[in-house]
């Protein structure tokens, strides 16, 4: 069978101030009609550049420096912009990643569809509208006649992506480039959209290029796959062959880094990373600073905590001399409870409502219930995985515990004592230091205008954990080494590091406060799989070494399986299920949990993990 699209020896370059950046380096790719061809790779691999080159929308100043793109008899690289523009939508369409941003917010769905249809076919407005209805129905949108005159913001993410697909289908294109079409969607919706893409491909005999970083999606839906790395094709072929028996070292490493839903690994092995430090970076050291020093310092925390806790109690109770007896009782209690087999955090009947009781002109507002009636108990030194789809209240839970939002009802107990709501948690309250947080996006959670040293030293200074400047510097360098960064990183600014390295810096900042409770809110969602594997390994190492208790939030069940000892499932602000991890994954009790597990793309083509 001949190819619909045939890319031969394609190179794309981006001129920059520091010379030319080669985005694609002699890439070959062939796609047949009725086939879904996956393009997979980590960030910077050039996946999206391939799509942009085909449709002729390379971001300036990028340009095609060599090679050919054959599509239905034409070489697209030789077309003028106007000729290329005629092909767009007509014969080649595109589906974008984020349905929240890929529709014009000011125009109704119907307007956008009708305009696109009439752009490519000489039909009347009413005919175009009829065609729009058919297309929307084909993509599985409900109640089309009534809803098509609504605006994009009135639709949910999954429905919007159906609209985007309908728009891409407006003129019966022969080739669709889908750039991460399900990355912004929840698993259950992802499954539906992938099925829709599969059906369209088969029924209409369209060739589809599916760009993704998600091996699960590749496994689930593609017929053939091309693995890219730094603009080069690493391996290409039938999906089952590439995933089942990878030939290249990089492909093997990439597949090994994918977290498995079906098995808990002790550690990820054979990870290949693009992050390399120069000799200059690694040889620069501060006297006496070392990872060992940081470990020893962090392990001292237990003795420190007890005195701190007691002094806080004394402080808050001193005024009341009658209750001095209580203090001595609680002193005994806290010493005897020092063993790890105690509850560190317990949450009962917790609820968070936003905008409640705000006066408005027409009576009181209802408010949005982000969390209601949440109960769970967490043992010290364990990892609790919190799972849920978007809007389930995962992050609100984290914020309520760390004190960024105030609960509207219920109570929290931390180490046997009542945890006051954030607004009532004084600066001197020991919990401020004991609970630390690592955020999802390391690009926005670090201040780009401060050096890494300033960033990591801040908690040390704030909590008074070191006596002088020399000691602070030594600690910063040591902690950086502990999170596997060179000590010299402290002299640089966050923007000089990659996403994975920034996330290490964020972890270092959390660790240096000597917390015993760490909240990780989707700490690896913004990272590539190989970096994610390194990060998960690191978190496991730290958790074991320092007996940390971690509240680990993720939408990715496979990641949760690797990390958590216990799992709680949230849905629309309610706790659906709480179970021990292995038990949860072997036999989830709730229907919703079962659905989540079922809808997660399987990795059945991959070899069993070692």
């Amino acid at each position: 069978m001949t190819s619909l699209l045939n890319i031969v020896d394609l190179s794309v370059k981006f001129p920059t101030r520091f010379g030319e950046f080669i985005a694609l380096n002699h890439v070959d790719l062939a796609v047949r009609a009725g086939e879904i061809h996956g393009l997979v790779g980590e960030s910077g691999a050039g996946k999206s550049t391939v799509g942009a080159a085909i449709i002729g929308l390379l971001q300036s100043p990028g340009y095609i420096s060599g090679g050919e793109i054959h599509f239905l008899g034409d070489d697209l690289t030789t077309l003028t912009n106007d000729a290329h523009h005629k092909l767009r939508g007509q014969r080649i369409s595109m589906i974008f990643q984020d349905p929240q941003t890929s529709l014009n917010p000011l125009l109704t769905i119907a307007t956008q569809l009708v305009e696109t249809i009439r752009q490519h076919a000489d039909v009347s407005h009413s005919d175009a509208r009829r065609r729009a209805v058919e297309l929307l129905e084909e993509t599985g949108l409900q109640d089309v006649e009534n809803r098509m005159d609504e605006y994009p913001h009135q639709f949910s993410g999954g429905m919007r992506q159906r609209v985007v697909i309908a728009l891409a289908l407006c003129s019966n294109p022969e080739l669709i480039i889908a750039d991460e079409p399900t990355t912004a969607l929840d698993v259950s919706v992802q499954k539906q959209i992938l099925e829709l893409i599969r059906n369209l491909c088969t029924e209409r005999n369209i060739g589809i290029i599916l760009i993704t970083h998600d091996i699960g999606v590749i496994n689930e839906i593609t017929d053939s796959v091309t693995v890219l790395r730094s603009g080069r094709v690493i391996e290409s072929g039938n999906t089952a062959a590439v995933l089942g028996e990878p030939k290249d070292k990089y492909t093997k490493a990439l597949l090994a880094a994918v977290p498995r839903l079906d098995k808990r690994l002790h550690r990820f092995k054979n990870i290949v990373s693009d992050d390399e430090f120069s000799a200059e970076d690694t040889s620069w050291r501060i006297d006496d600073a070392s990872a060992d020093y940081a470990s020893t310092w962090l392990l001292e925390k237990h003795s420190l905590q007890k005195t701190e806790q007691l002094s806080h109690e004394l402080e808050s109770r001193m005024s009341n001399t009658q209750r001095l007896a209580d203090v001595s009782r609680s002193m005994d209690a806290s010493f005897s409870n020092a063993e790890s087999e105690q509850s560190i955090l317990s949450v009962s009947n917790l609820a968070v409502t936003f905008n409640s009781g705000q006066p408005s002109w027409f009576g009181k507002e209802e408010g949005f219930k982000a969390l209601s009636n949440i109960n769970f108990d967490m043992q010290a030194g364990t990892v609790l995985g919190v799972v849920g789809e978007s809007g389930s209240g995962k992050s609100t839970l984290a914020k309520a515990i760390v004190g960024l939002v105030d609960p509207s009802a219920g109570s929290m107990t931390f180490r046997g004592k009542k945890l006051p709501p954030g607004s009532a948690r004084m600066r001197s309250h020991p919990v401020r230091r004991q609970i630390q947080m690592v955020f999802q996006d390391p690009y926005s959670s670090l201040n780009n205008r401060r050096t890494v040293e300033d960033i990591i030293a801040e908690p040390i200074k704030f909590y008074g954990l070191a006596n002088n400047r020399r000691e602070i510097r030594k600690l910063v360098a040591s902690v950086l080494e502990l999170v596997e960064m060179p000590q010299r990183a402290m002299l640089k600014y966050p923007h000089q590091f990659s996403g994975g390295q920034r996330q290490r810096i964020a972890v270092a900042r959390a660790l240096v406060a000597r917390p015993d409770f760490l909240i990780c809110d989707e700490p690896t969602s913004a990272l590539d799989v190989s970096i994610q594997a390194q990060m998960l390994n690191l978190l496991k190492d730290l958790q074991e070494a320092f007996g940390l208790s971690i509240l680990f939030i993720s939408h990715n069940l496979a990641v949760i399986r690797q990390m958590a000892d216990n799992v709680v499932v949230l849905r629309n602000g309610n706790l659906i299920e709480a179970a021990e991890t292995e038990q949860f994954f072997s036999s989830p009790a709730d229907d919703y949990s079962q659905m989540l597990l079922r809808e997660t793309p399987s990795l059945n083509l991959l070899q069993a993990p070692v």
Binding site: F96, T101, E115, Q119
Partner: protein
Amino acid sequence: MLSFIFRRLLQSVFVMLAVSLIAFSLFRFVGDPIAQMVGQETSIEDQENLRERLGLNDPLTTQYFRFVGNLTKGEFGFSYRTRQPVSEMILNRMPATIELGLVSLIISLLVGIPAGIYTALKRGGVLANAILITTLVGISVPTFVIGIFLIYLFGVELGWLPTFGRAGTVQLGWWQTSFLTWDGWKSLLLPGITLGVYQLTLTMRLVRAEMQDVLKTDFVKFATARGINYRSLYLNHAFRNTLVPVVTIIGLQLGGIIAFSIVTESVFQWPGMGLLFLDSIRYVDIPVMSVYLVLIALMFVVINLVVDMLYFAIDPRVRLKSAHG
């Protein structure tokens, strides 16, 4: 939407009260009104009688509420300088200023918006750069210099346009308009351009910046990838999405144009409110000054209200949010 407008109206009332307080305090603190009114030979007793008759011995709060009450009834008092009713003086002058403001607004929009779109699309092009540099000169040179330059070029050297004053007016009821005659338009042109240059540059640069942002968004990329023709892509998809910030700034600027047309009016001896205000300051004509202040504030409040309502027309997301909130 109704509750939103209601809230806005209530806020406007507070703004107006605050401004009227400042206007009222002019009477109290910018010299003694009695001393302004009477001659040197008026006896102390007569002055005291006058003071009593005008209610100037009443408590401040009483006086303030009387002032606000009179304002709402449209009784603006009498000018110290001309002894005419202030309302009459302002009504005579208002059409001239408003027409001048409108002309300069239209000039700035007709030139500024297309130029903004053009410079955003042809980034780095020769003509685009030329436009940007020219308008930069326009915004850096003080208004009166531009006015004098235009007078010299078109009025003195070329002799095409009148150099000062408002000609060819026609009476429409109480409104004196210069829109209906060729002479009227000719006399409007130079001051209109002078007043509009700043606004023009601002509009152009704002449209340009907003367009550049919108052109980078996914939905414009997606529309391009669907093969939508460039005309609709740039106007219907991109430009429409720049309107909310553009309308906000243009609205604020329109207020500014009318309120601060003083310099232009004085360069061109344009018989508008700005010139009246200047004369009033020269003769410490407090009633005129304070009414002018209140009217300008009212105008800003009304323009802002209109701008807020335009948001509803432009952006469906605002409509929905207010329907739910």
